[in-house]
């Protein structure tokens, strides 16, 4: 299977390990990701606050670039996923907008046709590989890994159509297939405050504290996420959060890092060394099994 791939800016920067683990995982499963040519910023949150029409044009340019390949477009970053889907919806519902954006794209030799399906890697693994398929590919079951599955906001809301909006389970099933123990985690879809941590620390870190604290209370030794902003927010401020609100120590990794680890990829391949709070201790159980 081969997919078009839109990484988005974060996966080239702070979210580097997301890209590394995503590529490694897909490779291990025999899936091919072709990065689309000369993609640009998706137009997410901050951009949309300034000029929404231009944000839509940015997203539409990416879609127009991706479409000729005739493949599903895999979008790992939650913010990108949301903006691309939102652009789709607005282009469908507002003919006036569509006309303006399409003519701007056509002026630059691009055609927006709404043909490529936008998909999150979670959806691809769950639907195209399947729980059984994944189970078969596991080489190093995540035995003893107690994981809090954290979906965050923008994948399940408001556009996701591959999982339940209030009680999503797709990541739970995938991690279980990898041999991990998925703990009951009532905050699966609560916002992490990521877009605020850099600007209004108190607010952003309080949300991160709530998530990390609850994960620990529920017995998790690692939090799995699927968004570069969430990962950064939940991983980067432990000292400050501890000072402000209370002790937290649980590491946060990308779900692709856990899946990739179960598939036998190495620590380095998965970029596990790049995070601030090391996950090595949490994954130790799995390593013993492999040895």
């Amino acid at each position: 299977m081969s997919y078009a791939y839109y990484p988005g800016c974060s996966l080239k920067g702070m979210g580097r390990s997301y890209e590394e683990s995503l590529l490694a995982t897909f490779r291990a499963l025999g899936l091919c990701l072709d990065e689309i040519d000369d993609w640009n910023c998706c137009g997410a949150t901050a951009y949309m606050s300034v000029d929404e029409d231009k944000a839509i044009a940015l997203a539409a340019r990416n879609l127009a670039i991706a479409e000729p390949a005739g493949k599903d477009l895999v979008v790992p970053c939650s913010a990108c996923y949301l903006v691309l889907e939102k652009t789709r919806k607005h282009m469908r519902e507002y003919p006036d907008t569509r006309k303006r954006v399409c003519s701007a794209l056509e002026g630059a030799g691009l055609r927006y046709g709404e043909t490529a399906r936008i998909r999150h890697p979670l959806e691809v693994l769950f639907q195209d590989v399947g729980v059984e398929g994944l189970k078969k590919a596991v080489k190093r079951p995540l035995k003893g890994v107690k994981v809090a599955p954290y979906y965050g906001c923008q994948i399940v809301r408001p556009f996701s159509n591959f999982d339940h909006q209030v009680y999503p389970v797709v990541m739970d099933r995938l991690l279980e297939a990898c041999g991990a123990e998925v703990v009951y985690y009532p905050l699966k879809t609560r916002c992490c405050g990521g877009s605020l941590t850099g600007t209004i620390e108190e607010a952003g870190q309080r949300l991160a504290y709530i998530l990390l604290h609850e994960a620990e209370k529920r017995g998790a030794n690692v939090v799995a996420t699927l968004c570069p902003l969430c990962q950064f927010n939940l991983d980067s401020y432990h000292e400050s959060i501890t000072r402000r609100f209370g002790q937290v120590s649980v590491p946060t990794v990308y779900f692709t890092q856990l899946v990739g680890y179960a598939l036998g990829c190495s620590y380095e391949e998965l970029g596990l060394g790049r995070h601030r709070v090391p996950a090595r201790a949490a994954l130790e159980g799995a390593e013993t099994v492999a040895a």
């Binding site: 339940h164 909006q165 209030v166 009680y167 009532p186 905050l187 709530i210 609850e214 209370k217």
Partner: protein, 663 residues
């Protein structure tokens, strides 16, 4: 009336309607214009044609001038067509020679230019005079009406309707789907705002139904098919097997004690699955009829064939019949009252409230059973984990006023939530929080009840609960359900930890409402409740003559409203059957069977199922009693063999030609 010369002599009358018409239309010149039209023998204008002197004018002219056609240019036929036809008939002329032209709603009220409005009236009366010359003498047909009434549904509405009709001396069939009558009201503990015990006021009525000589009660039965028409419905009722002979069983419950299952093991539907029952059971002690029944899904005999059947041995009246099969009863009735009730909203559709996810989240109906002394806990409010709640949150509007679920207000939830708050507080002394969007207490004594609750110390928070969660932020929240809500009157968000959450679920149409609608040939409004003929002036009638509505099947209603509506439906049914006959308007369609090719294309088009196919003559036939004169079949008939009284081609074409004559 024919004066022997075969000539048409039209009497024309234009009404001033005070200034309603005369203010915009030059009525004097209209009368003058009409006088010059072909066949018009008399032409007058008059201040109020509908007044007695106005009507007398028509009669006098008919007698004096030998008029044989009447055209009245006045208001809408809805208002006064019957008036002028009757006046015509009083003078000895067939009433269908009288034609009404609406120059008020169609001209004076909708125009301001006097000259243009008057010119339009010229066109309209010319068309009327053109068509009326072709009118024929028509007779209203009489159809006999059977005196029996079918009531479908044995909740409080059906019970009240059945008793009212039966008391008038008419025979009633009451058909109920469940093993007992009583409906939702039988599950309630108390009723608002007076807090009378629901069973105490309901069960005497249930016994009356059972004992009434004029009522045939069929429970565990459903209407399977309805044919016929107003006054003459043929109904097939399916009677499901309960494996117990209803006439023999006296409800002594010996068999229940004797059952091979020593302990109740299966979910008790009547108690909202909070309690257990045996395979042989009675829904509740006052069930009516007071007979047991066997659930074949759980009975060991039915499942394995290997039960010693101690129930049979225990029965001194030999009431068991394991060979009972589904059977059908055919009945003829003159009128039908549909009282099929409502379904409570399933809160699993609003996942944020955690119903089905957290065991201590309950629906309001479940709590009704918990506070009821005949309920699964004997009236103790204890939760699924056995604890008595110290704090309870009641969420209003669950499923209601929400475009994602049901968009309507369910009308009864505010009041029953207040009632439950009172009862829970009384039973447990818990802190009770009511979360509401708008407190709706319009009803006699309802606002006073709200005041009472305020003074009892129940907490009221104006805000729709956003979510019920089980993660704690403070030590006080540990182990509790936390309700997160904006206190909109205070303007900030609150987290309120409680032991128990009660979801005040709204009312929605029964799951099979669409099937029932089709069976009785009635309509549903967009939300799926049965549609009344007129929202204000015909609230219990339906578009189908002889079928009436009562209770919550027509829309959310509390008990007083349901009972009142049931009385109204009974009165409407009695008005129909007591007269013994109905007169049909003669504007029905009829088939010129010479021309009918038997193509059947008209049959599926008829919205009133009035057309059938005669296999012997191989032609379509129209049941005049069912035909409403909509004209659909007339327009559709490929051979032109369907015609309609008062709308024959010659009448319509001359009307069109005349209205366009000056165009």
């Amino acid at each position: 009336m024919d004066n022997g010369d075969g000539k048409v002599r039209i009497g024309f009358y234009v009404c001033h309607c005070g200034t309603n018409i005369a203010g915009t239309v030059d009525v004097a010149s209209v009368a003058k214009y009409a006088a010059g039209l072909p066949g018009v023998a008399v032409s007058r204008d008059y201040k109020y044609m509908c007044s007695d002197p106005g009507q007398d004018l028509i009669g006098e002219d008919i007698r004096e001038h030998g008029l044989n056609r009447i055209v009245v240019a006045a208001c809408s036929p809805c208002l006064h067509e019957a008036t002028f036809r009757t006046a015509t008939a009083r003078a000895g002329l067939n009433p269908f020679f009288c034609h009404l032209v609406n120059i008020r709603e169609h001209a004076s009220w909708v125009h301001s230019d006097r000259a243009a409005a008057t010119a339009k009236v010229y066109d309209l009366i010319r068309a009327a005079c053109g068509r009326v010359r072709h009118h024929k003498a028509l007779e209203r047909k009489r159809v006999n009406v059977r005196p029996e009434v079918l009531v479908v549904g044995g909740g409080i509405a059906g019970i009240q309707a059945a008793l009212t009709v039966a008391e008038s001396g008419k025979k009633v069939y009451l058909v109920e789907r469940e093993p007992t009558i009583g409906g939702h009201m039988a599950m309630f503990d108390k009723t608002f705002p007076t807090l009378d015990c629901a069973a105490c006021i309901l069960t005497p009525k249930m016994s009356q139904v059972k004992a009434h000589p004029n009522i045939t009660l069929w429970t565990y039965s459903e209407v399977a098919a309805v044919e016929g028409f107003v006054g003459n419905f043929k109904v097939k009722v399916r009677r499901k097997p309960r494996y117990v002979n209803e006439e023999a069983c006296v409800g002594c419950m010996e068999c229940v004690d004797a059952c091979i299952y020593k302990e109740p093991k299966f979910e008790d539907e009547f108690n909202q699955r909070l309690g257990k029952r045996k395979p042989v059971y009675m829904s509740f002690p006052q069930a009516t009829p007071k007979v047991v029944q066997i659930d074949p899904e759980t009975c060991l005999h039915f499942k394995t064939g290997k039960c010693k059947q101690p129930c049979i041995a225990s029965c001194s009246r030999n009431a068991f019949d394991f060979n009972q099969e589904e059977r059908f009863e055919d009945i003829d009735v003159g009128a039908i009252i549909v009282a099929t009730g409502f379904k409570p909203f399933d809160p699993a559709r609003s996942p944020k409230y955690g119903y089905g996810h957290f065991p201590n989240v309950y629906t309001s109906l479940e709590v009704e059973r918990l506070v009821n002394s005949a309920g699964p806990t004997g009236g103790e409010v204890v939760m699924r984990d056995g604890r008595k709640p110290k704090s309870v949150g009641i969420v209003h509007c669950v499923g209601s006023r929400n475009l994602q679920t049901n968009r309507w207000c369910s009308k009864v939830c505010c009041m029953y939530s207040l009632k439950l708050a009172h009862l829970i507080k009384e039973h447990t002394h818990a802190e009770v929080y009511n979360f509401y969007i708008d407190m709706r207490t319009p009803g006699k004594g309802y606002e006073e009840f709200y005041n009472q609750l305020l003074e009892e110390g129940v907490h009221f928070i104006r805000g729709k609960v956003a979510e019920v969660t089980d993660w704690a932020m403070t030590p006080e929240e540990e182990g509790k359900l936390v309700m997160r809500v904006e206190d909109t009157l205070a303007g900030f968000v609150r987290r309120i930890p409680v032991d128990m959450v009660v979801l005040a679920v709204g009312l929605e149409p029964q799951a099979d409402a669409q099937g029932v609608r089709r069976m009785f040939n009635i309509s549903c409004s967009s939300e799926g409740f049965f549609l009344e003929r007129h929202p204000k002036l015909a609230p219990v009638d339906t578009a189908t003559d002889g079928v009436y509505l009562a209770g919550a099947c027509q829309g959310p209603k509390d008990i007083p409203d349901s009972v009142a509506q049931a009385g109204a439906a009974a009165a409407q049914a009695m008005a129909l059957i007591d007269k013994g006959y109905i007169e049909m308007e003669p504007n029905a369609a009829f088939i010129d069977s010479e021309e009918c090719s038997g193509c059947k294309s008209c049959i599926p088009l008829c919205p009133y199922t009035a057309i059938s196919f005669d296999e012997v003559t191989v032609k379509a036939t129209i049941n005049e009693a069912l035909c409403k004169g909509c004209g659909t079949c007339v327009a559709a008939c490929p051979s032109g063999s369907i015609k309609q009284n008062l709308f024959e081609d010659v009448e319509i074409f001359s009307e069109i030609e005349e209205v366009l004559a000056n165009a």
